[in-house]
Symmetry: C2
Subunit: 369 residues, 2 copies
Amino acid sequence: MERRRSRPRIADVAREAGVSKTAVSFAFNSPERLSTETALRIREVAGALGYRPNPVARMLTQRQTMTLGVLTPQALAVIFSNPFFALFSEGVAHAAEDLGYELHFISPLHGSLALAVGRSTVDGVVAIGLSADHPEVEQIRGAGLPMVLVDSDDLPEHSSVVVDDEAGARAAAEHILSLGHRDLLVIAVERPASEGPADGSGVSGEPRRNGVTERRLRGYRAALLAAGGDLPDDRIVAGRSSIDGGSSAFQRAWAMGLRPTAVLAMSDAIAIGAMRAARDLGLRIPDDLSVVGFDDIDLAAHVDPPLTTVHQPIRQKGADAVRLLLAEVEQREAHRPEHIRLETRLIVRGSTAPVPAARLKVGSEFPGT
Amino acid sequence: MERRRSRPRIADVAREAGVSKTAVSFAFNSPERLSTETALRIREVAGALGYRPNPVARMLTQRQTMTLGVLTPQALAVIFSNPFFALFSEGVAHAAEDLGYELHFISPLHGSLALAVGRSTVDGVVAIGLSADHPEVEQIRGAGLPMVLVDSDDLPEHSSVVVDDEAGARAAAEHILSLGHRDLLVIAVERPASEGPADGSGVSGEPRRNGVTERRLRGYRAALLAAGGDLPDDRIVAGRSSIDGGSSAFQRAWAMGLRPTAVLAMSDAIAIGAMRAARDLGLRIPDDLSVVGFDDIDLAAHVDPPLTTVHQPIRQKGADAVRLLLAEVEQREAHRPEHIRLETRLIVRGSTAPVPAARLKVGSEFPGT
DNA sequence: TACTGTGACTAAACCGGTTCACTAAACCGG
DNA sequence: CCGGTTTAGTGAACCGGTTTAGTCACAGTA
């Protein structure tokens, strides 16, 4: 007696139940087309055999996978250690689950995002943090795969979700200026190595050239300009968007001789790292140094002192992206791309305070002006 | 002229290039079986047509998906907000990426994990935190899908990865005891609603009955027993494994009149929440209250004071699980399940200190003994 | 009795690839 | 020039389902 080691197929069930493959298929998908007894009997036989319809075969005939992709230019391992991304995924996951879709994370495979995209079996993609000129954007468009861009520059052909980064950054800078600070340090998110020039030069410490960083920088600048100051390049450093990244960026700035009274950080992780580094250097927060973050991750309210930061609706960003994507996936024809811009909001907590008296310059002028 | 709206198929490329489907397939998968020029020409035609082999069809014929599933009994949204899981995923993702596999997260779909498993197209699954008697374990075995269990009780048929929870918990308790503490509070991870009894009763605050909680409880007990004490049920409370969960669990204990000098928390998130709640109640840490966590997530070293905790190699757990799973996936026959047990290590930081003098009982006896 | 309709079920085509078995032509040493 | 091996390529079967277009038996109607 030969032992069948592979899973039973629809044909096995059909033979065993003495019906056609079609009948078995009907028994599962449209039982009303069969007499009640037949449908029941088929399902019984199927159960006894341990039959489970092969989902890959089903995907092939239905020409849809009921799976959505989340595309990121960074490795999964990096992604998961980023609290911002965790929140975003939460939003995406929630919406996808509600609508009955599975989720598939697409990140560079063997260093190649193109390869990963080619292999992936999804009905549509949410791309996060992918600059609009990234080559994969073109690849996905070429493949005719519906896509929603999040935190990119707007592309007319694709729906998109962004937050008003510029207004948020401006609010952060205005808050700091209103407290009398004039000597600022901006810590941006550095460009990851994978996006750097091929020769590997100038990778570390260089601000990312993508939309988010640019927009936030514009916001900071706008506030400073309105107050009669400006933001010279040597007041901008960059680091990885993590606690350690913020920590070492602040140390680097300190070593370069900078002695700011306030730090504008482009992410909460960076802000928290900067606070740690500052404290290790003997500074008290907010007495000696004010720090403002960006994002308002859950941790922000839980550090000591609680972090003043720019809140952005991260979960909602994920949920909205899925909603837009499904609108396109489910009614392919006659679909017009939609562009959503969500608002930000400054949340003042304990990490900012008036500029220390000792550092107060006469008339609160900007240094050198 | 009819516009072809669907993607080109292999037959289109074959026709356009004047060759057979087989040749096109060869051009991509085994070009050495074709003359160099033919292979090149076919690829050119394919490129011009924007042809991309349909990965679903490929999966069907190859009968493998090059995708691994990560199975969790909780909703994705919950998962992503859990730093422990983020670390674990990091380990899984790293290993999977190295080996050329995609990752697919499987979590309850419309509340049904069974449905999600049925739909998923994976070559094998890593199940985390699924108790061994969970019905889905049986379902997956029935489907003949390779599976590795993480943090469950060992099942002889499946490979598994666990850490030595009992020894870790014992080390934590011994540390606390050696500092003179006798009045302890244990905060366990509560059973999630989805695992509770159907009538919804007794869900909140009840410790989870899965292997991890049990093993850690045993470890705590062993240390206490060896020191001549014990761990009555009213010294154990439970909360969600999050900062807020720990916070409210501690508040609940306090409201019940408990005034411990030390807290043994079953996760760092809970420990951090307990510290916050304690501080809000006017307690100083570690002067008035010592707190020990479990896991050693990245944040543990970054809170104030830095958290004393039991380190477990979370990333490695993920990586090892993938390694074991692939051993089974890639050579289905003649495979013997393997069981890995990783070590834990107590990391003493700033959240634990000798019992406050005011609370020191004569002879350091246990209360009531 | 012939005609029409309906309920229950089926054979065959199809989804889009891969692969097995085979062939025609070129090559090759003796 | 012969028999055997390589090279380059092909047609058909196959993966495991769904779906289209019937077939067949039987009941109802004129």
